[in-house]
Symmetry: C2
Subunit: 343 residues, 2 copies
């Protein structure tokens, strides 16, 4: 009865501050706070919305805030930073010296926020989190770390690169996704209770939208809890990344240097990149997407590979053999050795 | 095999332009195009994201575009309009004469876009769609109509107020939600193939985010298809709205004038509004949320009621009786008659 009458007020769904904060959502936010060892967490409908809403709100609520942003930050972070209308300085990708020079040049009395990612998804490199936290301490800045390509996959409990490196407590805000490794959808931030309450109270992208339904939040919670207890999937993925990376190198394919599970194979031309993707699908039933401008700079078009824990040695060998065939047919610059050596 | 290898490229989920455009998504977009009698539709993760991404992209892609925006437009539309960086003129709510004066004063050679809603959710009033389309024709403007509070609930097939009034073909873009009446989550636009392709190709809020999973898109499609064929739910809701509105009036409760299924009951004070909501929940097991600033202007705080097709006469009477009790206890200004007359 009360449930039926409840719908008088809200209809299905409902915004978070009205009726959308259901039991499964509260449970999920408690799990996320525990995962990152923070006081609280706040879930939104996507990682994109989270970055846009959280960064714009946090920065605009700090009077005179200056934002220091890695040049390779994701489109959603750039969107949030732009919406904050704060003064912004872009530092060269993972360049600590450049970041320090910008911090040192800024007014020491103004609030500062450093926004960066742990794993950068297009190149597979990892940021110097500790060095950036040291600079944040030195120049009294808060830190906002996007771990979207790391949660579930790094750290003893899947807390990301910051957990792996024992640095979670040094970050003001950790942002992550319920998609990718966790296989569902949605995004979140974990931070202090006060900061989370501020975003909850002031971010239009959080306030004026429908909550994620219980089926998704419960699924995400189960996925996170599983990966908090089980390290098997992380170990197997790490092993598969090593195996596939070795195979690609031995085959002479132009795999770009990587520090993570992301293995970019350089093509360097948008048309060839699309053709390679089409040939892999049509001739080999293998689906690898072309990554072209504006996602990566022109001239660095690539195929991007990420083995899962479930891929077998045979599957990865089949992929490498197909890539060699396609790269040769299309005349993509590569130094292919004998395939026997690869296997 | 190909499916397993497919995951090498993308992980779970995936963005729409990379791997997230699955069969259930394509089916849903075809249904939405059919619902609104448009060439194409584009689904995003929420109505908020849809308004933000579509309005900012459409307007910014039209060189020199001037936007004319109803003053009561939703926060998501305001966000999109702001992000477009276009010149903007706000017209008084549903004020055709004011809109025309702004259109007439603008440079006739510049592109123009009129952004408005059909049902305004806080007051329950409905915009003069035909008169706005007539002005759009006269001043060569395109139109963007938010039907979030109308799809599923109005029109012979649930196409919204524009369908009910036979005006869908006169609107350039119709925007809607997969939440609310359809009970799932997500948002969309329906329009010409060219415009949809433009938003698909240029909107960061669409490009750089994970697709809705098949369970949600299939659920939404089933819900829309059902309400395209069945008018029962619409008829029953319309009847219940009339019954509840009559009950509220007869009880002397300060129900605000409405043209839709939304019945706002004025409280006029944020503290009393919250207290009324708490008392309804704690004393009567009835959950009605307080609607306070910034969602509505200060001094117009209210409780907002929307009966579903499934509420019974007895449930609605119980609600009205509880409201009378609460309003009397809290001394909220109302002109309560005898409850006998209400039932």
């Amino acid at each position: 009865m009360s449930e039926a009458i409840g719908r008088l007020g809200t209809g299905a769904g409902g915004t978070r501050n009205i009726s959308g904060t259901h039991h499964a959502m509260v449970t999920l936010e408690e799990t996320l706070a525990e995962l990152h060892q923070k006081e609280a967490a706040l879930v939104m409908t996507s990682g994109y919305v989270t970055n846009q809403a959280a960064l714009s709100t946090i920065a605009s609520m700090l009077p005179g805030c200056i934002i220091f942003s890695d040049e390779f930050n994701h489109a959603s972070m750039i969107h949030g930073i732009r919406d904050s209308k704060c003064e912004k300085h872009v530092f060269r990708h993972n360049d600590i010296a450049h970041l320090e020079s910008l911090l040192a040049a800024a007014d020491p009395t103004r609030p500062k926020l450093i926004a960066f990612e742990s794993v950068y998804s297009m190149d597979g490199d990892i940021s110097p989190i500790k060095a950036i936290c040291d600079l944040a301490d030195k120049y009294d800045a808060i830190t906002y770390l996007d771990e979207v390509h790391a949660v579930g996959m790094y750290g003893d409990h899947g807390g990301g690169v910051a957990e792996h490196e024992g640095l979670m407590d040094r970050l003001t805000v950790i942002q992550g996704t319920l998609g990718k490794a966790y296989g569902v959808m949605g995004g979140y931030i974990a931070s202090s209770r006060v900061l989370i309450d501020m975003v909850r109270s002031y971010a239009p992208g959080f306030i004026f939208t429908t909550s994620l339904p219980p089926a998704l939040t419960s699924g995400a919670n189960a996925s996170i809890r599983h990966l908090m207890e089980s390290g098997d999937e992380r170990a197997k993925q790490k092993y598969n990344v090593q195996v596939l990376n070795d195979m690609l190198h031995k085959a002479g394919l132009p795999v770009m240097p990587t520090m993570s599970h992301i293995l970019p194979v350089l093509v360097g031309d948008a048309v060839l990149c699309k053709q390679a993707s089409d040939m892999l699908l049509n001739q080999f039933d293998i689906y690898v997407q072309p990554i072209n401008f504006p996602t990566v700079p022109r001239g660095t078009e690539r195929l991007r590979l990420t083995p899962t824990p479930c891929h077998t040695h045979a599957m990865m060998f089949e992929l490498v053999r197909a890539l060699v065939w396609v790269f040769e047919r299309l005349g993509i610059k590569a130094d292919v050795e004998s395939l026997e050596e690869v296997a």
